[in-house]
């Protein structure tokens, strides 16, 4: 797949006029995107667009708090996609880094009473350190054995978290104070949204730029063929640890933000299931690109709310399927996700983003042929 994109990019280098055009269009796209992202929370909060009232269903039953959780999940998915999709290190221990971030934030922000910003910095540092530790087995074991080492790591971190929670806090969980970012009190969903959005954008740009630089290219080479990459002079060991450190630092940051947003977190949150959810997100979205992580996380958080919206709509009519959905909604959601992941793995291994790219290229080829004839 990476080879194909490489060729497509090379082919693009020829058409300079088209490129200039595309650049102008691209900036317009960015501006529209930014405007939508800035206006979106007001739509969701007031349930209206430019004064037009919208029904719950027209808004896909999505609330602002859910949007914030999605933003946090995007950070998790994008960082896992960097590690798994780009560096080729399959990890089912991503939830553990969320736990590490929450633990670091609890130790600094709750126990020591340091400000929110300091707790976030602590989470990033703790995450990077934990990431290097977690990456150490990757120097020795490959493939399946490495997957298992991340799973072992997950259970060890969750054990440490529960010990820490019971020793330093209470059985219910760790309670976080209201976050206050240099005087900007995060006391409403709207404020959280405008705090999280820039962070997510910066994180996405960070990963995107890293991938375009020499190191990112080296990492893709390492993923595709490790022996070839190392014989081309790439130190795969250092590269692996760096990828791990960056990915888990961002995951820990997301974990700390999630903990502050939820105000109370306990050890049950960081189950193996959470780690599996992140893997499912990047598979649905598409492996090996930043957009894949974003799309996957959006899908993952939108489907449950859309489904419950539909169920509420139909349950009045007494439809038998609606009855099943209302009675066991989380199970139906899981069923849909399980089937969706299986279908994507079998029929569209590049995920939604990969599928969209193939479609776009196909349409472009179609147009080019018509223009020629």
């Amino acid at each position: 797949m990476s080879e194909a994109t490489g060729i497509a990019e090379k082919a693009d280098l020829g058409g300079t006029t088209r490129r200039r055009n595309a650049g102008w269009l691209r900036w317009l796209g960015y501006a529209v995107g930014a405007a939508v992202l800035i206006y979106l929370p007001f739509v969701l909060a007031e349930r209206a667009i430019f004064g037009w009232r919208l029904t719950n269903m027209q808004l896909l039953n999505v609330g602002l708090a859910q949007m914030n959780l999605t933003l946090i999940a995007i950070m998790g998915a994008v960082s896992l996609n960097y590690l798994t999709g780009c560096a080729g290190l399959v990890s089912i221990g991503h939830a553990a880094f969320f736990a590490v971030g929450a633990m670091a934030a609890a130790a600094t922000g709750v126990q020591l009473g340091l400000p929110f910003a300091a707790a976030l910095v602590a989470a990033v540092i703790a995450g990077a350190l934990a990431g290097v530790l977690a990456g150490l087995p990757s120097l020795r074991v490959r493939g399946l054995y490495f997957v298992l080492s991340t799973m072992a790591l997950h259970f060890i971190v969750v054990f440490l978290f529960s010990e820490y929670q019971y020793a330093a806090h209470n059985v219910i969980g760790i309670t976080f104070p209201e976050a206050d970012f240099f005087g900007f009190a995060l006391n409403s969903s709207l404020r959280w949204y405008f705090f999280l959005l820039p962070i997510v954008v910066v994180v996405c740009i960070l990963f995107r730029n890293t991938l375009k630089r020499r190191e990112g290219r080296a990492m893709l080479a390492m993923r595709d063929n490790e022996l070839a990459a190392s014989s081309a002079g790439i130190d795969v060991r250092v590269l692996r640890l760096k990828a791990f450190a960056l990915s888990s630092a961002i995951a820990a940051l997301a974990g700390a933000l999630q903990a502050y947003f939820l105000t109370t977190v306990s050890t049950e949150l960081y189950s193996l299931n959470l780690a599996i959810q992140f893997i499912a997100m990047i598979i649905i979205g598409g492996m090996g690109s930043v957009a894949g992580g974003v799309v996957g996380a959006l899908f993952w958080l939108l489907i449950p709310s859309v489904l419950s919206g539909f169920a509420a709509e139909f349950s009045g009519a007494g439809h038998p399927i609606a009855k099943i959905i209302v009675e066991s909604r989380p199970q139906v959601v899981n069923l849909i996700f399980g089937v969706l992941v299986a279908l994507i793995l079998i029929f569209a291994p590049a995920g939604i983003v990969g599928g969209a790219r193939t479609l776009r290229r196909w349409i472009a080829a179609r147009f080019a042929r018509e223009r020629r004839s």
Binding site: V147, M151, F155, L335, V339, A342
Partner: protein
């Protein structure tokens, strides 16, 4: 206390060994690392519930029902999910087994509800007291059944034609195809066997506790068991199962039930660093 823990650990460990054996069979034949093994075990407990409580079948028929349903389930999973992905890299294959386990869990919870169900199979339930050791007859039956299954499987693998074909396929897919072996059919058989072994383990664990999706966590202990023993090795899987059962009983008896995972996964991590191919396994060579 020590002999008690050892005896309980070994009997429970026999069940893990059985589940781990099912896992190793699937891995050896199809090179699929099956994360759904824990959920297949849960299916066993619920199949037993359907057979004995819902259909109220007599015990021999119920047993037949469970075994046939298990083998069918394995073949269906292989046909629908595993076959389309044969020859794919590691992550898609692992992920599809995870997807299978998510689907099975959702289906079980939709069909049976989320609350655990008690099993009422006529398996023996008394207690034997030998010296200071209390031995539940159910545990003994479980251990004996596990060992009979393991020996039966061994004989099958060693002495039958199908077993020979399976060994040949595990050895080299290409060579087996060239010799006219239908690899897909052999893989289906491997999935049927692996699922059946997991399901038998699930029936016993469901009887010891309750039939619930929480059993999956116990079923997942088959993963460290099989890796400690060595992924490619069938005696290794049984050894790993016994070891995990022992560690679990000793850790939860002497330290705390919560410490169980730690004492299983830290040795696993260390073993992966020192000898990733397991105690009984053979080293895999990397090739360009």
């Amino acid at each position: 206390m020590l002999p008690q823990f050892i005896v309980t650990g070994l009997t429970i460990g026999s069940i893990y060994g059985l589940v781990a054996l099912g896992f190793a069979v699937i891995y050896k034949a199809t090179h699929v690392f099956n994360f759904a093994q824990g959920m297949l075990m849960v299916c066993g407990a619920y199949l037993a519930f359907t057979a004995t409580s819902q259909l109220a079948l007599p015990f021999p028929l119920a047993l037949l029902f469970v075994l046939v349903a298990a083998a069918t389930l394995g073949v269906v999973i292989q046909f629908l999910f595993i076959r389309p992905l044969s020859g794919q890299p590691l992550l898609p294959v692992i992920m599809i087994t995870i997807a299978v386990s998510i689907i099975l869990k959702a289906l079980i919870e939709i069909i049976y509800g989320v609350s655990p169900r008690p099993l009422s199979t006529p398996l023996p339930s008394g207690v034997l007291i030998i010296g200071s050791v209390r031995l539940s007859l159910l545990h003994v039956t479980a251990a004996v059944t596990s060992w009979v299954c393991m020996i039966g499987f061994f004989a099958f693998f060693r002495f039958t034609k199908l077993g020979l074909l399976m060994r040949a396929t595990a050895d080299s897919h290409e060579a087996a195809i060239l010799s006219g072996v239908s690899v897909h059919r052999i893989n289906a058989v491997a999935w049927a066997i692996g699922t059946t072994l997991a399901v038998i383990g699930g029936v016993f664990l469901g009887q010891m506790q309750l039939a619930s999706v929480e059993l999956e966590h116990i079923g997942l202990l088959a993963l460290p068991a099989v890796v400690i023993g060595g992924l490619q090795s069938i005696p290794g899987a049984i050894f790993g199962g016994l070891l995990v059962g022992l560690i679990e009983q000793l850790a939860s008896g002497y330290i705390s039930p919560k410490a169980r995972d730690i004492f299983i996964y830290i040795p696993l991590l260390l073993l992966l660093l020192v000898r990733p191919w397991g105690v009984f396994g053979t080293k895999e060579q990397g090739r360009v």
